[in-house]
């Protein structure tokens, strides 16, 4: 760049010296290049648009509309790969969204869950793979041709339009006649309880109200699937719970599939029909909130969804189907849900609320129990949470409900206690890696 500038000034110097018109032409020519760089640029952009702008809807009969259980599928992602700047976010990703279900994509930030949403919405195109909505291949279709709507994380309400105009935008784009448009806009506005705010501008609304407008705007076109990109993350805790309930109710009345992206495991558990736990672009587990919480299939799911104690253990004895294992140095009976053999090492997973703590002074029998000292106790109102250090230094979290009969239910710090668990509630995982 600088060379061009110097060249230009060298030429200008010549202009001053001999006033040759040819030199001036050159200078002018350079100016034109500088100014009109955008013409080739614009041309390239238009060309690029044309190359990616294929509006053909290829109906492909080979994709079945129903899944194994006979529930119709709304969205199917097949072998999707996507990378940004050479970094692979998704690799051979497969996912099915069933008709009318509330599906949550749960994972830490950067795990690719928002990318999945943007692929379904059409803001990104996969490097490989197929996206099918209602049996149609829409992989290359632009966002405005897809019957999918999005509630954005920051809402992205149009600031220059009133609530009514925001909600009416989708209908105006589909050229709905004015009478029907008005009726349907008021329908959705009343569904989110915002009818009296119709003439306000988004800037005049509270965060929760803006959120409702964003939802109203997205459902007005009756999409096949509604995508929600962390829609509640900007709200305070109380409002968030309220909106969770309302979203759930809305989803049940509308009977359209909702796909929610969140990193809040509590939200995922309380709102969804199915939870998809994702890490590093790979599905860790798909299941109902109960399955994901109570029967985690791997350590990531176990640790990401809720608090959990993970104990190292190995089988020491099997007698008549009763498995005795060495758990962190203590001999305990373990419920064997699958075939095990002596010497096999495994992970024993227990939620804090599965733990049962007893004072050694009151029940000195410690057979089959872990023993340790209370390090920390936290009064939580409904529960008493404590951290117990076992003799080998392992920390154990326990969370117990108050027993109304026992008013002295409390521990001293450093008190010696035994720790057990409700038999049958433990989860056994093979050692990973």
């Amino acid at each position: 760049m600088q060379k061009i500038v110097f060249f230009k000034y060298f030429l200008l110097l010549l202009v001053c010296c001999n006033n040759s018109p040819i030199v001036e032409y050159c200078n002018k020519f350079l100016d034109i290049i500088c100014y009109n760089l955008y013409i080739p640029l614009a041309f390239l952009m238009i060309l690029a648009k044309f190359l990616t702008f294929e509006e053909k809807v290829a109906y492909n009969g080979k994709y079945a509309d129903n899944n194994d259980e006979g529930i119709p599928k709304v969205v199917e992602l097949k072998n999707i790969s996507k990378s940004f700047d050479g970094f692979k976010v998704l690799k051979d990703f497969n996912l099915t969204v069933n008709n009318g279900e509330f599906l949550t994509l749960l994972g830490p930030s950067g795990c690719g869950k928002t990318t999945i949403l943007r692929l379904i919405a059409g803001f990104e195109t996969p490097d490989a793979g197929v996206i099918i909505i209602n049996g149609k291949d829409i992989t290359r279709l632009p966002p405005n041709k897809r019957s999918v709507n999005t509630v954005f994380q920051s809402y992205a309400l149009f600031p220059h339009m009133s609530v009514f105009d925001n909600a009416a935008f989708g209908l105006k784009m589909s050229k709905t006649p004015p009478n029907e448009l008005k009726e349907r806009v008021y329908e959705v506005l009343s569904a989110v309880k915002l009818t009296e705010f119709a003439s306000r501008k988004p800037a005049q609304l509270s965060g929760g109200q803006q959120q409702r407008v964003a939802v109203a705007r997205a459902i007005v076109n009756k999409p096949a699937v509604l995508l929600l990109d962390e829609p509640l993350s900007a709200l305070d805790a109380k409002l968030r719970y309220q909106m969770q309930e309302e979203l759930k109710r809305l989803q049940e009345t509308l009977k359209i599939a909702f796909v929610l992206v969140t990193h809040d495991q509590e939200e995922a558990l309380s709102i969804s029909d199915r939870v998809v736990v994702i890490n590093d672009g790979v599905i860790q587990q798909i299941g109902s909130p109960k399955q994901v919480y109570e029967e985690p299939k791997n350590l990531f799911t176990a640790q990401f969804v809720g608090d959990i104690n993970i104990f190292d253990a190995h089988v020491v004895d099997i007698d008549n189907g009763v498995v005795t294992a060495d758990v962190e140095g203590y001999r305990c009976a373990v419920d064997n849900k699958r075939e095990m053999h002596i010497g096999e090492s495994f992970k024993l997973l227990l939620r804090p609320e599965d733990m049962r703590v007893a004072k050694l002074s009151e029940s000195p029998d410690t057979v089959g129990l872990l023993v340790g000292n209370v390090e920390l106790k936290t009064y939580k109102g409904a529960t008493l949470d404590s951290v117990i250090i076992l003799e080998n230094g392992k920390r154990v979290m326990a969370s117990e409900y108050f027993d109304e009969e026992d008013e002295d239910f409390d521990y001293h710090i450093n008190e010696r206690v035994s720790v057990g668990w409700v038999k049958g509630w433990e989860v056994i995982l093979e050692n990973e890696g």
């Binding site: 100014y35 920051s154 989708g170 005049q204």
Partner: protein
């Protein structure tokens, strides 16, 4: 103390070089012409009444319309430019901004003479067209309104691009995505989302182009010859050629009032936009 000093210095500067000269212009516009000492202390409204002369009104209207066409053309050219610019990767964006600024490093007068060289009867453009056998005789390109508009557009384009770019850079990509998501094609997204949201930039750019276009006198002088008389040239002629300072001053005052009104309009629209929460 330091703050007061700074304010004092700038106030002094503004008074001496802005307020005082303008006051002089305002006073002179109410005085009469004198052949020997340029101005005599004989108060009159004649200068303003002279402006109402159809000849001068015509100049006023034609320069306003030329400035308007210039503004429109720069807007049409600059809008896609700024839009693309604001969506480029940051490195390319800075380079492109540099490319916009670079022509400024050359004197505008020199650049205008360059346009003259291109457009003149034996100039680059005519020679090229004749070499390509598109025309057999040179076209009269120079000394037309078209040449003046071309010169103005060329010179003032950056003043349109930069405010538009500033407005569009602030425009959240999510608004565009939301519009697309709700079923808007490219045209509707542009019409209903991008243009309304970059309105403050459009207004600012239009003013930054329209006002200088009214007042720039050397471009119509060089490219328009004697055929195109714009307000700026008229004022310049009154001061330098006709030696009628009071009339020139009256014309200046009128031009200043037009600009002031437009700026007030801009201020008002920007404030309403701010109230609506666009900015």
């Amino acid at each position: 103390m330091f703050k007061r000093l700074i304010i004092g210095v700038s106030l002094f500067w503004l008074t001496l070089f802005i307020f005082f000269p303008n006051l002089l212009v305002l006073i002179v516009s109410f005085l009469s012409r004198d052949n020997e000492s340029l101005v005599t202390a004989h108060p009159t409204f004649e200068n303003y009444l002279n402006i109402l002369d159809p000849i001068y009104l015509k100049v006023l209207i034609s320069s306003c319309s030329l400035a308007f066409i210039t503004t429109l053309l720069t807007l049409i050219i600059a809008f896609p430019f700024a839009l693309i610019l604001s969506r480029l990767p940051i490195k390319l964006r800075n380079l492109s901004l540099l490319l916009i600024i670079i022509p400024f490093w050359t004197s505008a007068l020199v650049r205008t003479y360059c346009i003259k060289i291109i457009l003149t009867t034996n100039g680059l453009l005519n020679q090229l067209l004749m070499k390509l056998s598109i025309i057999s005789e040179p076209l009269d390109l120079l000394y037309t309104n078209g040449a003046v508009v071309m010169g103005l557009v060329y010179t003032l384009l950056p003043f349109m691009i930069l405010p538009l770019y500033a407005a569009m850079e602030k425009l959240d990509i999510r608004f565009i995505e939301a519009a697309r998501d709700l079923g808007a094609g490219y045209f509707n997204t542009l019409l209903r989302v991008i243009i309304p949201l970059s309105a403050p930039g459009i207004i600012a750019g239009a003013l930054l182009v329209f006002l200088p276009a009214l007042g720039l006198f050397y471009i119509p002088d060089i490219l328009g010859g004697s055929k195109t008389l714009m307000l700026g040239n008229l004022i310049k002629n009154q001061f330098l050629d006709a030696r009628n300072w009071p009339f020139g001053s009256a014309l200046s005052v009128v031009l200043t009032i037009i600009m002031g009104l437009l700026l007030a309009l801009n201020y008002k629209t920007v404030r309403t936009a701010a109230k609506k929460g666009i900015i």
